[in-house]
């Protein structure tokens, strides 16, 4: 099975920053589904936002969700960690399995789910606390008692996002004093520190300047293999650079729908669907 078009990019990306011990693991992704979505439909206050989505997300791969604005990509993403629960009037139907467990099941611990399925938002959202506390507090809240363990995980996470060198001597400064790109990497570190297996990213680079965006993008490539990454992006070139798989969403009957899912290369170079072809070549959307 062909994976993404640029598997060698992982090597390139890794050269730019330190990979911490936490990231040690297999480089490549395995075509083994870790998230299974069947018949997913999401509506807000009765208005459907997403209909009939069936999709498998493969372990250790980067899956890009592409499509025009308002086609339900972000809704799809936030239904995977049940962040949709927090939206008043939002109803989710269908089945989502993470590691074979139905996340809407009666005994599912949502907090444990969100610990396993980390999320990065479009706009960097570090807590208005010190850099150190941004990482330390979630660990403590998730019951990591040992100070030594917390410190080593914080260091590893910061190294993984290439931030350790930059902030090691000012961990007690406010996180909001960092640059936008650094803040976004801190947010990724904050997700990594909880040792999730899946990372959801909602346009993680689009609020950043081009240089920071490149750094974050390389970092995402570096995560490939060790984490399952689902990333929403409007930047098709970026999707081609970083993703193994791509899913194309489009608005159909006034609700978002999944049109096509394939390896990134095939979706861009030999799309099966006319809508996909029109979108990836820039003729629509």
């Amino acid at each position: 099975m062909t994976l993404g078009p640029k598997d060698e990019a992982a090597g390139e990306g890794a050269a730019g920053y330190t990979v911490g011990p936490m990231l040690a693991g297999p480089e490549c992704c395995t075509p083994e589904p870790v998230i299974g979505v069947r018949g997913l439909a999401v509506s807000y206050a009765g208005v459907p936002a997403l209909k009939h989505v069936d999709l498998d997300i493969y372990k250790g791969c980067v899956t890009a969700l592409i499509g025009p604005s308002g086609c339900g990509k972000s809704t799809f993403l936030s239904s995977l960690n049940r962040l949709t629960d927090l939206v008043a009037g939002c109803r989710v139907a269908g089945r989502i399995e993470v590691d074979g467990v139905d996340i809407h099941g009666p005994d599912v611990d949502v907090q444990a789910l969100r610990r396993k399925v980390g999320m990065i938002f479009q706009k960097p959202n570090p807590f208005p606390l010190s850099i150190h506390r941004n990482l330390d507090m979630p660990l403590r809240e998730h019951g990591v008692r040992s100070r030594d363990e917390r410190e080593s995980r914080i260091r590893a996470a910061l190294s993984d996002v290439g931030l350790w060198e930059e902030v090691a001597d000012r961990l007690d400064e406010p996180a909001l004093s960092l640059s936008g790109g650094q803040q976004q990497r801190l947010c990724i570190a904050r997700a990594l520190v909880l040792q999730p297996s899946i990372l959801l990213m909602d346009e993680p680079c689009s609020a950043l300047d081009p240089l920071s965006a490149e750094t974050v993008e390389k970092m995402i490539v570096g995560l490939r293999g060790r984490y399952t990454v689902v990333v929403v992006t409007h930047n098709l070139a970026q999707a081609r650079r970083i993703a193994n798989f791509a899913a194309f969403f489009w608005v159909r009957d006034r609700a978002g729908a999944l049109i096509e899912f394939d390896t990134c290369q095939r979706l861009f170079e030999a799309p099966a669907h006319d809508l996909t072809a029109a979108y990836v070549t820039g003729r629509s959307g």
Partner: protein
């Protein structure tokens, strides 16, 4: 080059006229405040000159017509009243804000806010009436005479809870929504997010509100005049009748003359400076937060 001429600050455009109007109103308001300060200082000056600051602090008692000008018992009473009221009102006010924003069911939020605003708008003399007719007799049953430090503390606390609550709400609401999403996405529960993220982020705004409420308690006259007993003595217990600086001015101004009158202005000046200091501290807290 930036010109320093006034005309360039207010160009002749619609915006310029509005800016000029607003600037003039602001100058007028602060100008009047300055004039009041100057007036109070001017009236206090004879006492400051002939009696001296030291004696206001060192004289043991307050018999202004017999040459004893000790303000310390009343200063202490004012502080005890304000501090006691804050001790109760600060946690309650913050709790009120947190409850309304994060725990109250949807239908309750608006009426609850109305209630807080109503309490904020209740004239202090009305609170004083209630204190006098209801609270003081209750306290008198525990330990007479009833009109006491604790009566003042309780009613003042009731009076300043809305100040703390409204300021805390504003501070809590200004914590960006994205912080909540981030906390939720990290699997933090509501309490963890509140304690670890939202409250620390709103800390300085809340502290500002508490200082402001303290200033209000310190400056309140009517309530303390009505229910604290007005006996000039050191507040050595919760059930001791005391007289605050503010009530002292209100009680004696009508008949005071000479040094007596001037020394009332000295206590007014001292109060004003204290309240300014508190408000200033509250303001710096907020500015730092927004820096």
């Amino acid at each position: 080059m930036t010109s320093l001429r006034i005309s360039s600050l207010f160009p002749r455009t619609p915006d310029g006229y509005i800016a000029f109007g607003l600037g003039a109103a602001a100058c007028l308001a602060s100008g009047i405040l300055l004039l009041i300060l100057i007036f109070v200082f001017g009236e206090a000056w004879p006492a400051l000159r002939t009696i001296g600051v030291v004696r206001f602090l060192s004289d043991g008692a307050w018999y202004p017509t017999d040459g004893a000008f000790g303000l310390v018992p009343m200063l202490a009473a004012s502080f005890a009243l304000a501090a006691g009221a804050l001790t109760i009102a600060a946690p309650v006010g913050v709790a009120v804000a947190i409850f309304r924003l994060h725990y109250a069911p949807g239908w309750m939020k608006a009426p609850y806010r109305g209630l807080v605003l109503l309490l904020a708008g209740t004239p202090s003399v009305v609170l004083g009436l209630w204190g006098l007719m209801v609270l003081v007799p209750l306290i008198a049953r525990i330990e007479p005479p009833g009109a006491s430090l604790i009566a003042g503390i309780l009613v003042l606390a009731l009076m300043i809870v809305p100040t703390v609550a409204i300021a805390s709400e504003a501070a809590l609401e200004s914590v960006p929504r994205s912080c909540w999403s981030a906390a939720n996405a990290l699997g933090l529960g509501r309490e963890a997010a509140l304690l670890n993220v939202v409250l620390p982020a709103a800390r300085e705004g809340i502290a500002g509100g508490i200082l402001l409420a303290g200033a209000r308690a310190l400056g309140e006259t009517m309530v303390v005049l009505m229910i604290t007993g007005n006996i000039v003595q050191m507040p050595d217990g919760l059930f001791t009748p005391v007289r605050a600086l503010t009530s002292n001015i209100a009680l004696e101004m009508a008949y005071a003359t000479g040094d007596h009158r001037a020394s009332l202005f000295v206590s007014g000046l001292a109060l004003t400076l204290l309240v300014f200091l508190l408000s200033f501290a509250a303001g710096t807290g907020r500015r730092r937060r927004h820096a």
